[in-house]
Amino acid sequence: MSIRTRVRQWPVLRQFTTADHLGRGTAVRSAHTEELTPRTRTADRMVQSVCPYCAVGCGQRVYVKGERVIQIEGDPDSPISRGRLCPKGSASEQLVNGPGRVTTVKYRRPFGTDWEDLPLERAMEMIADRVLDTRARTWEDADDEGNPLHRTLGIASLGGATLDNEENYLIKKLFTAIGVVQVENQARI
């Protein structure tokens, strides 16, 4: 900015040259203020979503910029929520970008005293090994009377109420196929 423009931009001068003589409005507006734009406007895209907390199912609009969620707010189109959100829904952005969110695998070895890091692929392999090992050891093919059981009671699972239907479907399908029957979720609690 040239000195000249700078001077012309000087609010004291603008107080004299514009209608805002007392310097409480247009005369004192900064260039930054003049360019103020909501970040929803400059977002790369908006996708419609659903609040992940309770089961009211409020509509959310998720704004993304630079492949990062920058804003989550109520979706006025939703006939359920009409754009409104409770404090939890309103805090969804913090759920996603939260300071405490752990984004890497943590591993605690048996009798270990602290967390260790583990590559995701390695963790998956280890879990697959544990599943098959326990399953083989605890497999029940039939009961005492010879009725088929085809199952293991050595493995259990809890959770699903916060997950998608598609996820619950794969969970139930896979667990059932490997004979895990102790599959439960919050609906029981």
Binding site: V50, V64, P79, K106, T134, D164, E166, K173
Partner: protein, 871 residues
């Protein structure tokens, strides 16, 4: 509702603005109470008496909606003369076996069906497999129990002494306003206001809705609470009509979905039961236990639903010859529900545990038992957004502090895998009104974070890879499974492909490969697939209907083009009942779905929940079952007789009608019957789960107060999604207890000071909130103090912004026999000023209380109440 579902509460405020009366009945004065026209404090665990009082009011004052009751409910149906009601047997129904703690429900049946209830096998309390009994109540999420046929004798004058209506009258005669006061602590004049409001606002022109949450379900008689409300609503004609219903406000984004597509031990998708070990363990036997061909309604097509499911799962490998792979399904033979599994962990029977977005160390009853159980595991996989207490129990859990566990002694191998957030994956949530809503992925999950879809798909691939060459029979179910979902970027399985599989396809014929548009298209011959028959239609016309987002402002008030509701996009179930028997709206005000005589079809604001061309006057021929057996005035199309069940002749394990029992831990004697608590409750008598004595057992004065738990607006359940959020944590930073000024005076508690709350399980400390919002109740001439504990806090989570003792640690575990849910909404406790002891002094402190109360493992476990005179 304002407290836990604030955005849903906007509709209550809308109703209020239009003149609706809002009544709030709760042990605790909440944000809902603040906005209600009438608030009634009630003793936790006494609601069956309260609801029964209303039923009695309706019946004795002839306030029921007679035309609705006669036509649409089983009020006129005649019940077996063998049936004996609870008032005749001291609080038990006919058929109780004190040895097993279970009922033989044969005598509860409709007249002429007395043998029928004995079909099939069942799971009972106490885990003993027992053949020759009816199905358990836990399977009836989407239907009534089976009947052998629909030929029932009815007396539409409702005068027959054995008709349901007369049984109801006799059963509820004892539920007088005075009895309500004696049990619930609600003064008769206050109670009368509720009765007056509910009955005045029901009928042709008006409807009343009941809304509940886990304050009703989490009791050892939880199912019967809901049954109580169902009876009121059926008597008043409030089911199937706009502004009516019994609305469950569920607490998790897809808790309804996780019941429909169940991550539950006893169900397959869409309320098909898990097969049971035993004589009927082939497909036909399995189907015969679900339905009979003689009964009415859509459950008679269960074979098409089941075969389509098997085809979805095993595809080409599912053939007529192998019963579509039915034998690959694992069998259940006992109650394998959550708390049983926990107990099995303590007994070292369980090696591995997956926790998927759930925090039982804080959120489940008897948190200490949960944590102790997990320390017995060989391995634990936790998938969550934050390092929740259940993942870190071995490190900083409360038992480490007390010395009851030592980190170095815990052999559990723990894998914490970070999960993807809702914005980082595609998929549907099913909300509390059965509406499926697609949420679109916005961004990729960061670093190691993955969706469950990703985790389970790839876990499945890894397992198959390892077993590829296995010839073992047990591995075939996995190897033959359809597990070839297309993947998107990042090897993420395509959620739409999964939803399509759920919806189902035509597998042969002209339409082969196209999506089913309705479950009615399903076939039992293997020519269709479908992973969840109630969801069929969500992908009709090849379009993801759950992703529809036509703005609410651009469509009718029913908003049928927003998302998709199961079944068949119907927004109100049983909406045929919104019209009178002739098919006309009960009133113009309440018109919803009606018969268009000229067009010869049902029409209206919603998708009719009825065969669309079936005239109101239609009457089936005798002996016809299934959908075609439904008469034109049978609105309850999923019920075996087409009627709403005031009285449940089968399907429930603890009685055909609700009876008031005291909570397992209660400060008072049951005023209604000699039987103190639900005799069929499931119990876990062991050191880790002690129960304090209730009258008539001695020692109950050691724990003189009632403690209940609940949620706050600012937090979410066990805190895994809120205590890590600074904005939410700062709104309710500390664990507190709510007590009345009277109790504070009695115990010397100071506002904002500390208090220790102790039960038979353990003791926790909380900041004290002395408030007039908690009201001492006079119950049977005695003042009962109730203590409220929000249960959002826990100790030992990594990086949590706020932490504190966990309310669920003080609650015990006993289960409703029907659905295996714990009774965590009323327990006995003591409260003392000051902080609790720490370290090893804490278990000693708790033990001293137990000693004074004379608690042993057997305390509170007697099924039949010992009478005061020792009989």
């Amino acid at each position: 509702m304002a407290e836990c579902h604030p955005v849903g509460f906007q509709w209550v405020m809308e109703a209020k603005a239009r003149g609706a009366t809002i009544i709030h009945i709760d042990p605790r004065f909440t944000r809902t109470s603040a906005l209600a026209d009438l608030y009634l404090p009630v003793r936790a665990g006494s609601d069956i008496a309260f609801l029964g009082g209303i039923i009695n009011h309706i019946l004795t004052n002839e306030k029921y909606f007679r035309e609705y009751v006669v036509s649409y409910t089983n009020a006129a149906t005649i019940v077996s003369e063998d049936f004996q009601d609870a008032d005749q047997l001291g609080g038990l129904f006919s058929g109780f076996d004190p040895k097993t703690g279970t009922y033989d429900t044969t005598s509860w049946a409709y007249e002429g069906m007395e043998t029928a209830a004995a079909a099939g096998s069942r799971v009972v309390a106490g885990r003993q497999p027992q053949a020759n009994a009816g199905e358990a109540g836990d399977e009836f999420g989407g239907r009534g129990a089976a009947l052998p046929h629909s030929e029932v004798r009815r007396d539409e004058t409702l005068q027959d002494p054995f008709c349901v209506f007369q049984i109801l009258k006799r059963h509820y005669a004892r539920y007088t306003p005075e009895m309500v006061e004696r049990i619930c602590g609600v003064p008769p004049e206050q109670f009368a206001k509720v009765c007056e409001a509910v009955t005045a606002n029901s009928g042709r022109e008006r409807t009343t809705a009941w809304v509940y949450s886990v304050g009703w379900t989490q009791h050892s008689v939880g199912v019967q609470y809901i049954r109580g409300a169902a009876i009121i609503q059926l008597l008043l004609g409030n089911i199937g009509r706009p502004g009516g219903g019994i609305l469950a406000l569920r607490g998790h984004a897809s808790i309804q979905g996780s019941t429909d597509i169940p991550t539950l031990f006893d169900l397959l998708p869409a309320y098909l039961p898990m097969p049971r070990a035993g004589s009927r363990s082939n497909l036909d036997g399995y189907l015969a236990a679900i339905k009979s061909d003689g009964q009415k309604g859509f459950w008679t097509a269960a074979d098409t639903y089941m075969v389509s499911l098997l085809k979805a799962w095993w595809g080409e490998a599912a053939t007529q010859d192998n019963e579509f792979g039915f034998d690959w399904l694992p069998r259940i033979d006992a109650d394998h529900s959550n708390y049983h599994t926990i107990v099995d962990m303590l007994d070292d029977k369980v090696e591995g545990y997956f926790l998927l977005g759930q925090n039982p160390a804080v959120g489940s009853s008897n948190g200490k038992m949960q944590r102790l159980a997990m320390s017995h595991l060989k391995w634990l996989v936790v998938r969550d957004l934050n390092l929740i207490e259940s993942a870190a129990f071995w490190k900083d859990g409360p038992e480490i502090a007390t010395g009851e566990m030592r980190t170095e002694d815990i052999g559990t191998e723990v894998f914490f895998l970070p999960a993807a957030a809702h914005t980082e994956k595609d998929g549907t949530f099913t909300q509390t009104q059965r509406l499926l809503q697609w949420h679109h992925k916005a961004v990729d999950p960061p670093r190691d974070c993955r969706s469950e879809l990703h985790f389970f798909f790839h876990l499945g691939l890894l397992l198959r890879d390892r077993l590829e060459t296995s010839g073992l029979a047990r591995d075939q179910a996995l190897l033959r499974l359809t597990w070839d979902y297309p993947t998107l970027e990042g090897d993420e399985p395509d959620a739409e492909a999964v939803l399509q599989e759920i919806n189902g396809r035509h597998l042969s014929g002209d339409k082969a490969g196209t999506m089913l548009s309705s479950f009615v298209e399903m076939k039992a011959d293997g020519s269709t697939s479908g992973g969840c028959w109630v969801y069929t239609g969500v992908y009709s016309d090849g379009i993801n209907q759950s992703a529809r987002r036509k703005p609410g402002s651009q469509q009718s008030w029913v908003a049928p083009e927003w998302g998709w509701a199961w079944p068949m996009n119907r927004r109100i179930l049983y909406n045929r009942a919104s019209a009178d028997p002739d098919g006309k709206p009960w009133s113009e005000r309440k018109a919803y779905v009606w018969w268009d005589e000229a067009a010869g079809k049902w029409t209206g604001h919603d998708v009719p929940d009825f065969q669309v061309n079936k005239a109101p006057s239609f009457r089936p021929e005798r002996g016809i079952g299934g959908p075609d057996g439904l008469a034109g005035d049978d609105p309850f199309i999923m019920q075996a007789d087409g009627k709403g069940w005031l009285y449940a002749p089968s399907g429930l394990l603890d009685g055909p009608l609700p009876v008031h029992y005291e909570p397992l831990e209660s400060p008072v004697r049951n005023a209604m019957h000699p039987q103190q608590a639900n005799p069929t409750r499931e119990m876990f008598p062991r050191r880790e789960n002690l129960t304090s004595p209730s009258p008539p057992e001695p020692g109950s004065d050691v724990y003189p107060y009632v403690v209940t738990t609940y949620r706050l607006t600012e937090h979410h359940t066990a805190g895994g999604m809120s205590r890590w959020s600074p904005y939410l944590a700062e709104l309710q930073p500390e664990f507190f207890c709510e007590v009345s000024p009277e109790l504070a005076a009695e115990r010397g508690l100071e506002h904002l000071g500390w208090a220790t709350i102790v039960t038979a399980r353990t003791a926790v400390e909380a900041r004290v909130m002395v408030t007039d919002r908690v009201t001492p109740l006079v119950v049977g001439g005695r003042t009962i103090h109730q203590i409220g504990l929000p249960y959002h806090w826990g100790v030992g989570g990594g990086n949590a912004i706020v932490s504190g003792d966990s309310a669920n640690d003080v609650m015990g575990v006993a289960l409703d026999p029907n659905v295996h849910i714990q009774d965590s909404k009323a327990a006995a406790c003591d409260i003392q000023p000051g902080r609790r002891p720490t370290g090893p002094a804490l278990p000693r402190y708790v033990e001293e209380y137990r000693r004074r109360a004379g608690i042993t493992v057997e305390t509170g476990t007697a099924r039949m109440t010992q009478h005061e005179d020792g009989t």
